[in-house]
Symmetry: C2
Subunit: 325 residues, 2 copies
DNA sequence: CTGAAAGCGCTAACAA
DNA sequence: TTGTTAGCGCTTTCAG
């Protein structure tokens, strides 16, 4: 910057202003500074700027994993909005681990991110405390809660589970089962599924769980294990579409007609759900829109702006009935 | 940090050392410092550290989009390796735009990222110049070139296209078509496909292209357009599986038997390829492994270490023949 | 509209 | 092993 100042024949401050507050610099001076910047190929050190301003123009985002298309979609939507506001995304993968999440929160705070997006609403006590003390905007996604750290953009996983139970009950299935990942939000979907089945007077629900991330093979194996335990099973709800496709595959291998002998419902409505044979019923969630909404909520607080957004946004979900149920 | 120093009864440097170089601090002092850190809930400002050390412990990554599972997988693999080395990922989406890519490169340089991962090997001249001048490790992915900016971890898109042509020719298909995204790497696959078809003496190839990102609907529409133009078509190669699934759908709607009346081959072997009906032949690429390899190449340069990795890593690809061809 | 002075929070020499 | 002295490169008062 000193070099630029010398070449332009001005002081360092003026160069700084020409970059950050061009309206405070006279047009001729501005032109000279720009020329010097161009000539020297000068690129300002944003870290130094962040240190001085305490604003990094970076938003941190923590997802369990990128290899699930749905989280990637949320990030895509988030990035889309943030880019437009001049912010960038610093990424962290928690791999579904609470300790990893806390470590990520620490480094994000250390890097002075201007805002943070988390997946889910269940976090360690330390995470909640630190983030509240941090005092910068935080959006939790992919779930809902009465007591957010700050803001939420998601949907009710319990309600989604309950909706599937109603959907299956309506179609006459009574003996329901569940295949799911051993993970917080999948657990909530199971809880809602159980609660609603009980309310409707259906028999108790047999469940199989597996450590995330789930694979199609997991689905095949769990489906077999489940029917071995509960041969009267008529329908199974899977906490994600990958397991759902696995369950369909297991049915095909056993020669069971879907949905007559066994109905299957997945979750999150990936492309694979509509492409599979028979097409897999699923629960559609607004993955990308959740990211967008989170981005808007952050920007509203970051750049101020007129619009005051509510702290809680429920993006909802919908049961998509296809051939498998 | 001053507060921590006072509480622990030491100087600021000692606190700094206790955090960054604990082996240089005596155990009792270290304990006092840690106690003070704990008590005050102190979180070091990493930006200040970066400013002083000129190392940010951040790697920038630019992908066209996150909403394609394959790039997300590459990032996942990259993140996996970098996390283990104590680095974090700063993300940028170019949306297949060269200007956007250059802007991202600028801010990444400005943020002093320690390394950079790009998608593809075709970049603006300014990007190449700036990155070479930057002097920090850069890995290009998802393609190969003789003249990398620095390092490459990818595969040959041209060879992949050629391999599909051979695969189809071997099975007796002669009139070949192509559906693809209007994008650099898809273009190379088409070029290889064309070249090989010509070499094998097959008729010229009809192609349809569409702006990325591709959708299943794009595939349906393009497939129809293609056969409207070239009714003798026997097989079609799609530059990604999404288009491939769309092509299959179009065939079903027309009542064409696949692969008898029309063979279809996709690209990148997403889960959707094996789940679709009939199962879609595809070209498998090592998306995650490309990310891992890029991560290893970066770390090898960043932390030094014994192993010297080659500048170019060809991860290859393989044609996966399924029911559709 | 421009410049001088002071400081953001940390770390790398060097010395003790 | 610990502390002292100088910055890292930028931005913000406050004067001029």
């Amino acid at each position: 910057m000193i070099d630029v100042a010398r070449v332009a024949g001005v002081s360092r401050v003026t160069v700084s202003r020409a970059i950050s507050h061009p309206e405070l610099v006279s047009p001729p001076t501005l032109a000279r500074v720009h020329a010097a910047i161009e000539q020297l190929g000068y690129v300002p050190n944003l870290n130094a700027g962040s240190l001085a301003t305490r604003r990094s123009r970076i938003v941190g985002a923590i997802v369990p994993t990128l290899s699930n298309a749905w989280f990637a979609d949320t990030l895509d939507g988030l990035g889309e909005i943030l880019e437009a506001g001049g912010y960038q995304l610093l990424l962290g993968q928690s791999r579904y681990g609470e300790a990893a999440e806390e470590a990520l929160v620490d480094t994000f705070i250390g890097r002075q991110v201007d805002g943070l997006v988390l997946t889910g609403v269940e976090h360690g006590a330390a995470v909640r405390r630190k983030l509240r003390a941090f005092g910068r905007p935080v959006v939790e996604t992919w779930d809902l809660t009465d007591d957010p750290i700050d803001m939420v953009a998601g949907f009710s996983n319990e309600d989604a589970g309950a909706a599937v139970a109603r959907h299956l009950a309506q179609r006459g299935y009574r003996h329901l089962g569940f295949l799911g990942a051993n993970e917080r939000r999948a657990g909530k979907r199971l809880a809602g599924f159980r609660r609603e089945a009980a309310r409707l007077g259906l028999p108790g629900i047999e469940a199989e769980v597996v450590a995330p991330p789930s694979s199609i093979e997991d689905g095949v194996r769990m489906m077999r294990a489940l029917v071995a335990r509960a041969s009267s099973l008529q329908a199974v709800y899977c906490s994600n579409d990958t397991l759902g496709v696995g369950a369909l595959l297991a049915c095909r291998q056993q020669g069971w007609a879907v949905p007559r002998r066994m109905a299957v419902v997945g979750f999150s409505d990936l492309a694979i759900a509509s492409a599979s044979q028979p097409a897999l019923s699923s629960v559609r969630v607004q993955a990308r829109e959740m990211g967008r909404q989170a981005g808007r909520m952050l920007l509203a607080r970051l750049v101020g702006g007129a619009s005051v957004l509510p702290r809680v946004a429920d993006l909802g979900f919908s049961v998509v009935a296809r051939e498998s149920s």
